[in-house]
């Protein structure tokens, strides 16, 4: 079922979206290497995806507090609406404990499912909770369409992931260019950007 529709556009039907594929993820690999350089440090990591035992097991190699945001549960509430009622405040949609300063934010492909308004709101909320030098990792679709609902990413190794897509429907992808992402997420600079062979652009951002 489609989780998100962009501006009332009618998504073209596709039967090719469901399934899984293995991805080489060089930017994520670099990130893991950076974290491993300071094993004594305790990291605050926010996973915006749904709860995943695979992710918890992978990051248990680090001293860390691992926050699970399950952003997909509140995605529609981040989007711009025509209604007069103000949208729910971001801290209500994505609560974080007082005093937490995030060192790493894992977005997976969720940014693609936010409009520019929602993306800016999310970025603003996160920026107020990040530590200096914090990292943000994300995938952005560069093809015309993407699965109608976000998929799941299984971490196979520091340099490999499995992208699992449960949704056979597709919707138009926003195909956010780098300039747009940096405009909507001010304060974050692209440190690495890799176009993966399946058309996903892998981004690694860092705050100053």
């Amino acid at each position: 079922m489609a989780l998100f529709r962009r501006s009332g556009a009618t998504p073209p039907a596709s039967a090719a979206a469901a399934g899984s594929e293995e991805l080489g993820v060089p930017a994520f690999h670099h990130l893991v290497e950076v974290l491993e350089k300071t094993p004594e440090r305790k990291y605050e990591i926010l996973d915006l995806g749904p709860a995943s035992g695979n992710h918890v097991a992978f990051f248990s190699r680090f001293r860390c507090r691992f926050h699970i945001g399950s952003l997909e549960e509140t995605l529609p509430e981040w989007l711009q609406k025509d209604e007069e009622a103000p949208p729910p405040e971001p801290p209500r949609l994505l609560p974080l404990a007082e005093g937490v300063r995030l060192d790493l934010i894992l977005c997976w492909e969720l940014l693609n499912y936010l409009d520019e308004y929602g993306l800016a709101r999310l970025a603003d909320h996160l920026q107020s909770r990040t530590a200096p030098g914090a990292w943000l990792h994300a995938f952005v679709h560069t093809k015309a369409t993407m699965p109608a609902a976000p998929g799941r990413f299984r971490l196979l190794a520091p340099d490999r992931m499995e992208w699992v897509r449960d949704d056979r429907e597709t919707v138009p992808a926003p195909r956010y260019p780098r300039r747009t992402l940096e405009r909507l997420m001010p304060g974050l600079t692209v440190r690495q950007s890799r176009l993966l062979r399946n058309g996903l652009q892998e981004y690694l951002f860092q705050s100053p």
């Binding site: 709860a51 995943s52 035992g53 918890v56 507090r65 691992f66 699970i68 399950s70 404990a97 937490v100």
Partner: protein, 152 residues
């Protein structure tokens, strides 16, 4: 069984607290002693004990089992902070969990809160929103702070 002296406890609907649950529901325990809070029981207050506990009913408050195992069954609905040696959630729980050894949320489990434990297992399909402190070097301060005087 439970020391509820710290808060006013109430059993809204009286029902016998079973001490021998069906084998399929019984969590593993070295002593084999497990108490079950049945599905029609509602408890408000502080629970503590020196044996394993399976909750299939509703509990609000705090749960201290120290060196024993806590299981929230499929029908269990908990609003409480829980401290135990191992905690397994198959039902719903809102609150903070401190496991001295391990916390497991099974595929049917739904948890909102924070977890501190040296080992945390989220089964595929488990629902969880909150934080997991996986710092193996960190101790479980809340567990250590659990009052020693409370016993079964």
């Amino acid at each position: 069984m439970f020391d509820k002296s710290k808060k006013t406890s109430s059993i809204e609907k009286s029902q016998k607290v079973e001490s021998t649950p069906p084998p399929a529901q019984r969590p593993a325990t070295p002593s084999g002693q497990t108490t079950t809070i049945g599905p029609s029981i509602k408890l408000n207050g502080e629970l503590s004990g020196d044996e394993d506990l399976l909750i299939q009913g509703e509990v609000e408050g705090n749960i201290h089992l120290k060196e024993h195992n806590l299981t929230v069954g499929e029908q269990g609905r908990i609003k409480a902070n829980a401290f135990a040696r191992t905690i397994t959630v198959r039902g719903e729980l809102t609150g903070d969990l401190t496991g001295a050894e391990k916390v497991t949320i099974t595929a049917s489990g739904r948890v909102r809160g924070n977890i501190i434990a040296p080992k945390v297992i989220l089964e595929e399909g488990a629902s969880f929103k909150g934080s997991i402190d996986m710092d193996a070097k960190a101790e479980a301060p809340a567990l250590k702070a659990a009052p020693k005087s409370q016993s079964a």
